[in-house]
Structures are given as C-alpha cells and as structure tokens.
Amino acid sequence: MTSLPRLVSGAVGLATLPSIYLRLSDVASDPRTGAVEVGRVISEDPALSARLLRLVNGALYGLSHRVETIDQALMLAGTSQVLDLALANSVIRVFAGIPASMLDVDAFWRHSIATGLAARAIAVQRRELNPERFFVAGLLHDIGRMVLALHEPQRLARALEEARGGDVMLHHAERATFGFDHADVGAGILAAWHLPPALQQAVAYHHAPIAAVAFPVEAATAHVADVIAHSFELGASGQPGVPTLEPAAWDRLGLLPAALSGIVDDVRRQYVDVVQVMLIYENAAIAAQAS
C-alpha cells in the first residue's frame, strides 16, 4: 500500500518544473531585480515567450491592440500575472506527452483549463488583484489525479469502478481505495514544488473548502470553479457528474447566482482560445520535437 508521502516523492522525482520557470521564480522573488530582468529571462525561451504573447493577445485579455513584446506584456498584465501564466504553461509541459492508461489526458487538461478559466472569471468578478493566480489554482486543482493515473493506475481503476458502480463521487472512492484522495496528492506535489501556500490550499481543499483556514477564498474559488466546469462538461477528470456544491464556499465568495451567467460567458469566450494555445500548440510542439 503506497503511502501518500512515498507517492508524492516518487512523482516529484520524475516531474520537475522546467528550469526556465525556476529561474523566473528566483529572478522575480529577488527584490533587487525588476520587470526588465524577468523579461530577459522569459525572452531566452522563445517557445515560452510565444506562448505568453499568444495568451495575452488572445481571449484572456480581449485587447483592442496587439502586444508585440514580452516587455509590453509585462507592463500591461503585470509581472506576477505573467509569471503565473508561465507557471501554468510549465506545469502542462511537465506532463505533456505522457500517456496515462486510466485517464483521457486531453480531456483532463480541458477540464483543468476550464476550471482555471472559471476560477479566473470568479476572481475578476470579485475584483481580485491577481486573477492569473486563480487561473493557476483552477488549472492545478486535479493534478493529483494525473499523478494517481501515472503512478497507481490499477488502484485508480478500482476507485473509478467503485465511483461508477456505487454512484459515488470519485474522490470518496479514492479515499476508500487509497486512504487519501487526489486533492491530498495534488497539495503534496505543489508543496514539493515550493509553490505558494495559497495555491497549495486551493488544491488541497477544493473538495472540502470549509477546511481551508489560511486561504478560504482560494479554496472556495477552486471549489466553485470545478462545479462550473463540470456543469458544462468541459473536458473530463474522471469524476462522473457535477460534484456537490458546498453552500458555505458559495457564501464565502459573496456572489449572486445572477453573476454566474457572466462568469460562464467569460469561460465560453476564452475556452477554445486558451485550449488552442496551451494544449494544441503544446502537443504540436512535442510532436515536432519527436519527429
């Protein structure tokens, strides 16, 4: 029976964040450096630069003019926002091209992107200062399931069977099978990657948002965003059906139900474009490298 720590350390051993992101993170957190240095590091990775420019010029920002350079993107969106987008790209790159037998990988990332966009739209609606941070939280919320699919496929298959047969939510079946669920695994991965505690809590508690003491808004946002993504069957994560909405999480966000229409419209407007940039370009890039 694999313990959670053993599973996480095994997974992290094989899945490290790209060095470009680690360098970016170092440069950005150094108080002596500024946007110019961040821009220089990004520009050293043409693929990342292209991806970031494509995101900023696309449906996420809906600009009326084109942004041509990384420096302009940093000025427009802000350094921390661009960094968060770089993190999002980096995580997808970590797992890109790895086949998983128990999971439709493409559908998984579509669900993850949809959740990211819903979380971002909620953050924008609530006038949060860092919407891209919420995008990353939504994008990463189910990363633990990817790890389970890659490292414990047989037991995940049993959990999937139990969820389908017993008509229970998959994370409950995971807990019954493993003693922990994909949220625990995801939080462990993010901690091992030294990602911010707000992201760790959003992932750890996206199915139990009331338990998120330090970062209740992030956890509640990831929770509600997940519900939204499932409501419209945007991609698939293995979870059959819309997970139960925790009323306290909804209350915590302070949104009116009428706000959901606008949030869903935002996701609708951005989903195809962001999937194209983050997934399809990525897969094509990998295929090109492999050939």
Binding site: P131, G241, V242, L245, L260
Partner: protein, 109 residues
C-alpha cells in the same frame, strides 16, 4: 451611451466619456476598451458609474428562442449530471438552468 454601475462593468466595454475621480484626476480616458486592470482601478477609486458606449452589451445578444418542451427535456436529462447536487440551492439551480439552455439550443463552448 449608457451609465453602468462600476460593479457591473466587464472587460471589453468602451468608455464614452473621461472617467475622473473625486479630485478630477483622469483615471480612464474616453474611447478606451476597459481591461481588468481598468476595472480594478475604478473599483479601488470607488467610482460609482461609468459612461459606456452603446447599450453596455459587449457580446452579441442572442435572439434565441427555445421550444419550452425541448428545454424541459434538456432540464430532465441533466438531472443525472447534477445528481450529486442540491438543485434547490440557488447557485446550483442557476448552473443547471444555464446548462439546460446550452443543451437545448445546441450551443457548444
């Protein structure tokens, strides 16, 4: 041109007049497409309303008409998808309704 409360603004709307704060400082010029950054500034400066070009709709309004029987069938068929949820909760009810409209109108993301 229409005055929209700041809380209801969305990115993509275009200002129809200069937006100034209480000491007449220019925050957003006329003719600018609002981005999220603008919205944060307007919120932080407690601007109550903003003059917007057009009728405030930044996306095309669908003149869609859905057959009520088709909508009802869509709502029913979505019960299974929402089986873990409490359909009496207002947010869940809203999501279920929005998803049913999508299903009934054949709208795809």
């Amino acid at each position: 041109m229409v005055a929209i409360p700041t809380a209801e603004l969305r990115p993509g709307l275009v200002t129809a007049a200069d937006v100034r704060d209480s000491v007449d400082q220019l925050l957003v010029p006329s003719g600018v497409t609002l981005t999220e950054r603008h919205l944060r500034v307007l919120h932080m400066c407690a601007i109550p309303t903003v003059q917007i070009v057009g009728d405030g709709e930044s996306r095309e309004v669908s003149a869609l008409v859905i057959d009520p029987e088709v909508l009802k069938a869509a709502q029913e068929s979505l019960r299974r998808r929402f089986r873990f949820c409490d359909l009496t909760h207002p947010a869940v009810r809203e999501l279920h309704a929005l998803a049913a409209v999508d299903l009934a109108s054949g709208r795809r993301f």
